[in-house]
Amino acid sequence: MRLPTCNRLVSTVLAALCSLPALHVRAADATEPVVVYSARNEQLIKPIFDRFTAETGIPVRFTTADAAVLIERLAAEGKNSPADMLMTVDAGELWNAANRGLLRPTRSSILEANIPATLRDPGNRWVGLSQRARTIVYHPNRVDPRTLSTYEALADPVWKNRLCLRSSKKVYNQSLVAMMIKARGETATETTIRGWVANLAAPPFANDNQVMEAIAAGQCDVGIVNTYYLGRMLQKQPDFPVKVFWANQRGDGTHVNVSGAGITRHARNPAGAQKLLEWLSAGEAQRLFAGSNMEYPVNPTVEIDPLVRSWGSFTPSRINIVEAGRRQATAVRVMDRAGWR
């Protein structure tokens, strides 16, 4: 009596096991998901991915971590990596990933039409999806904006004990300095940074919010921050006493970095990933991607968030953002030599 029951059980289990791969294949045929490794955080990407899935039927799976860690993970996984796309919050990491051969080139007329050439990799391995302007902010009661001009001018002794900066450990500052090096060379940039360090009113802060709070509290008068941090601050506190000044408008333009993405070398679903990338570069998706964090869209036809628009228009740097990555390591050396902690 026991044996037949056992046999039946075994054969049922075997049959079930055999049908598993079949099920798997069928599921894959229907709509292969796009898998994203993202350094852009969950609350900024999930609503947008959900919308993509609703519109196209293509599911998106993602995991988040620091870009440097995701890049090591991609490299370690190699051909076995489930990732189709790498998304970061700065161009330097995209450059690094491309440089290490972890991203594949993608020719797309849609991407080329939607995204200005300075915000794309010349080798087509990644594109910027939103712009993050890093510029000068000041306290309107203590600073006459007519006395402000360039990042470099903040090295002037007139700003002694009036400048606040974030730590040089943050990639946003490393990218800014990398682009300054591209524009003016290493020596001139080092002199500028020495000037900044000499003008600091307080040791460098751990984040941009603290820089702006220090300006508001009177610890210093000017600082350099990403504008979306101010946007968030103003949403909470509309009378927050810090104003935006667009740096380097008469020269090479205000520094912008990008949050962007590229398709991985060993992507299993490159077509789906390209579709997602193209979808992100246009229309409502662009508005959401940039607007949800008060950044600037890369697509010039897309409307800017009203609060962000209230800061006025500006000329961004005309140098290709790829330089931010290419010169990042040099930038760090310059900052170390100049004593920017």
Partner: protein, 517 residues
């Protein structure tokens, strides 16, 4: 307890993942990495090294002092609130160091409302919390409970008859405590202080939040800023060497004072005179106030404006996954540590004895470096591991083995081998010896090991971040998501949930521990 070959096998298996990581770090020293290290040596490392040294020394001293004093008070004396403090003093463990650092920076720095008000009203000024001293304070406040917990178990397992013998010899209670009980607790204090030193050595969260340059920030600067993981691994290798030296020192110090006797009648706490009792209560409340009540109140005020924005049904999932991961991980680590300490007692082979301490070195390696250093070889050798929780648990064990090991080692050190020998002569089997002799005397250490690893795993970020399966979010990961772009006020919601999730297990296990003694 074990046959020799079994003991050796256990030790080698437990040490294997740490060895994989260490081999990687040694490999980094043999890999050419340009001149990144030379550059750092010239401009960064001297200051960073000095800061790390000062930080490790002050935090170790501070945590040992505060932790041992509180442990002695709670274990040996009776004062108002003692019952509450006995578990309440563990609460600071549930606040991740980087959260405490952010709270202190947000509430005590120049721009904070409190400082602004005091400055405007009374012209008060104080040194910035964003400094080496500030980092030392924050780390001491988050780490002293390690010493407190492990030392308390040691004090509580000290026998009443020691004190009676001391009093027969004409010693006062205070003298007896100093001359008899303190030495008895020395192994525990040393072991836990070594843990604190290792944790400080590997800390990145606190020093980054306060922008203090240490060897770990130099390491991340090489990796994230200059794209040189190899240089980062070279620095991590140096941290491991320092940690091993610390462990060696601790081991030496411990063997010189080892007391292989304990047990007997439980200790009777002494009622302190009113004034002293009041001071004891004041001291304990002050420490708890600064390390727990104040930061939690601050988080509450941050969270109050964002509860509706962030708190929803997803939090049940975060909550359950955090507790499940930490619980399973802690169980695993405590089980392996228990087997390990016994095996180490039995193993005699030279190689095995040399390898054994390496298994705890993972605690001195910054989590991200360890995670990457383990993930790459593991998933390359065994691709099917990718995306499973197995990688995560292996990495947990590698990094937090020391935390489970320290209380167990200190506990076993107090057990006289004579007891075993007697039991063997009486013909007892190993399992029987464990049940009847060892377990009753080690229960406290097991609970301490579990509590410490549990709360450490709850707060753990870098390993979980890298190795979790898709969509597997925990409370610590939620904190990361929100703070990665500076949304600290919103992050207060998951940070508080993290504290809350740790609260009940801490109280429950602390209760177990008291019964155990």
């Amino acid at each position: 307890m074990f046959a020799r070959w079994r003991a050796s096998l256990i030790i080698l298996l437990a040490a294997a993942p740490a060895l994989v990581v260490l081999v990687g770090l040694v490999g980094a020293w043999l890999t050419p990495a340009g001149d990144t290290l030379q550059h750092q040596w010239r401009y960064l490392l001297p200051d960073a090294g000095r800061n790390t040294f000062i930080l490790v020394m002050t935090v170790a001293a501070g945590a040992a002092l505060v932790g041992t004093t509180l442990a002695a008070l709670v274990a040996l004396c009776e004062f108002p609130g003692r019952a509450f403090f006995s578990w309440g003093l563990l609460l600071p463990l549930s606040i991740p160091g980087y959260v405490l650092a952010a709270v202190f920076a947000g509430s005590l720095d120049y721009a904070s409302p409190l400082y602004s008000w005091l400055r405007e009203q009374f012209g008060w000024q104080w040194p910035s919390i964003r400094s080496l001293g500030g980092a030392a304070l924050v780390l001491t406040l988050t780490l002293f409970p390690y010493v407190y917990l492990i030392a308390r178990v040691a004090f509580e397992s000290a026998a009443q008859r020691y004190l009676e013998a001391a009093s027969l010899l004409g010693r006062t209670r205070l003298q007896a405590t100093r001359e008899v009980l303190l030495p008895l607790a020395v192994p525990a204090v040393l072991a836990s202080t070594a843990l604190v030193a290792m944790e400080t050595l590997a800390d990145f969260g606190v020093v980054a939040a306060l922008n203090v340059d240490t060897l770990t920030t130099a390491l991340y600067r090489a990796w994230y800023g200059m794209f040189s993981l190899v240089t980062a691994q070279q620095i991590a290798g140096f941290l491991v060497i320092v940690a091993l030296l610390l462990l060696l020192l601790e081991h030496r110090a411990r063997s010189s004072v080892r007391m292989r006797e304990a047990g007997g009648i439980a200790l009777q706490r002494r009622q302190l005179p009113p004034l002293t009792a009041g001071l004891a209560t004041l001291f304990a409340s002050t420490v708890l106030g600064i390390a727990f009540v104040w930061p939690v109140a601050h988080l509450l005020s941050w969270a109050s404006t964002h509860v509706t924005a962030d708190l929803d049904a997803r939090y049940w999932g975060y909550f359950v996954r955090s507790i499940a991961l930490a619980g399973l991980g802690a169980l695993l680590i405590v089980s392996i540590s228990t087997l390990f300490v016994y095996a180490r007692r039995d193993a005699v082979s030279g190689i095995v004895r040399t390898v054994a301490p390496l298994s705890t070195a993972g605690y001195a390696i910054p989590g991200t470096v360890l995670a990457v250093g383990l993930y790459a070889p593991l998933t390359q050798a065994l691709p099917w591991l990718q995306g499973t929780l197995l990688v995560l648990f292996i990495a947990y064990v590698t990094r937090f083995f020391a935390v489970g090991h320290a209380p167990m080692a200190a506990g076993l050190a107090r057990l006289p081998t004579a007891l075993d020998e007697a039991a063997v002569l009486l013909g007892s089997r190993p399992l029987e010896r464990w049940q009847k002799i060892h377990w009753p005397m080690l229960k406290g250490s097991v609970a301490a090991a579990f509590v410490l690893t549990f709360v450490d795993l709850m707060k753990e970020l870098p390993i979980t971040l890298l190795t979790r399966p898709f969509g597997f979010e925990t409370l610590a990961i939620r904190v990361f998501e929100l703070t990665s772009e500076g949304e600290w006020e919103r992050a207060a919601v998951p940070a508080l949930a993290l504290v809350l999730a740790g609260l009940w297990p801490l109280k429950w296990l602390a209760g177990r521990m008291s019964h155990a003694t």
